[in-house]
Symmetry: C2
Subunit: 229 residues, 2 copies
């Protein structure tokens, strides 16, 4: 790790000269000035991936929602709140050699978000109208020009993990999906370990349960190998 840090500082390392985009954390979608919809993501895995990529010498742009864990050192940091802000930040950060989309982006926003606090009424909760958020992973994976050579998505699933993640890879058009089982009884969401399956064009590859830092190091190595091909 010290060697990696020195290599990164000297601009060596297998990812020296590569620009990699990493999204991380949850997004917050405002309902009104005091309420919002959030995703249960600590940002721990995305942060670890960004740190591991930087340690291999990559120039990392780290675009993060309001995460619990602090961002890594040695990256270009962009803080956002909502999915729309994250999508804009991603577009601004391109082009890149690779993109790792680890953020838990809200699929929907509240189209009727109010700039005044919504009040209880006799009829109950004011109706919320939802609108679909931009699909950041898909839009980057399916770019006509300027697509990163390697686009990696994440999938957080609670059941049929491999089937859902394999379908997601095809639907989004990304190269890899790193899928993890976030069922409440795994303790992964918010925990320090992860049990992941990497889905590539060769099919699913289940990794042993290991620390999020170890998952990140292994993924960074694989990204370096893929970009070296």
């Amino acid at each position: 790790e010290i060697v990696a840090a020195i290599e990164a500082a000297l601009g060596d390392g297998p990812l020296a000269g590569r620009r990699v985009l990493v999204t991380s954390g949850p997004t917050h979608e405002p309902i009104d000035p005091v309420r919002y919809i959030a995703n249960r993501s600590s940002g721990a895995q995305g942060t670890a991936v960004a740190r591991a990529l930087a340690a291999l010498g990559a120039q990392v742009v780290f675009i993060t929602g309001p995460a619990e864990v602090p961002p890594p050192d040695g990256v270009e940091l962009v803080r956002v709140e909502s999915a729309a802000q994250m999508a804009a930040a991603v577009q601004e950060a391109l082009p890149a050699d690779a993109g790792v989309f680890a953020a838990a982006v809200a699929d929907w926003r509240v189209a009727s978000a109010s700039d005044r606090k919504l009040k209880k009424t006799r009829d109950g909760m004011p109706a919320l109208e939802f609108a679909e958020n931009p699909d950041i992973l898909k839009s980057v994976a399916q770019m006509d020009a300027g697509r990163p050579r390697l686009v990696v998505g994440f999938a957080a699933e609670t059941d049929d993990v491999i089937a859902h993640a394999t379908a997601k890879r095809a639907r989004k058009g990304c190269d890899w999906i790193l899928a993890n089982d976030v069922s409440p009884d795994t303790g992964i969401m918010g925990g320090s370990e992860n049990a992941v399956t990497l889905i590539t064009d060769k099919g699913p590859e289940t990794w042993p349960r290991m620390g999020k830092d170890a998952v990140a190091a292994r993924l960074a190595d694989r990204i370096a190998a893929a970009l070296a091909e």
Copy 2:
């Protein structure tokens, strides 16, 4: 817990021997295992109030949602997530001499909360059905027997602060409302200062803008004076 009670009873201070309940922080209402609805509350003001009450010798039961700021020392700490859990914790913590309800409790929960991750469908967002949460402040303020002598509510408003808070005091049946203006341009939500108006049976009393610790100290002094009457 017993030790704390004895210490509080033996302590000096104008609130020695008094048991005070304080709620604080946001609540999180689950939509599915990875999504929830939250309120923008750091827990800073409620935490400061609990600390100030303990400093005056009170035995404080501190019931907090997932707040950003750490809980104070020297209190009996109860951590909850949802409004329903907070309501149950409050009932369990009674009886008390006074209750300060500073938490930003969600008015609604998702009645159709799922234990599986909701999927995007061709028709868009799965319909969410909402149900009204228990009104913690009102239920304590309107207890037939065992009501705390002093029940203090908080109101976070973005417009017509005094009118809304005065109406809230009457509607809930509480003794006092501490109202604050959380319009985004005040910087109060998540900030270190607060600009409050205390609504009592004598009407509104607007305090100068001051630190949240100073607001808490002033409120604790007023609570001590009211319980000494």
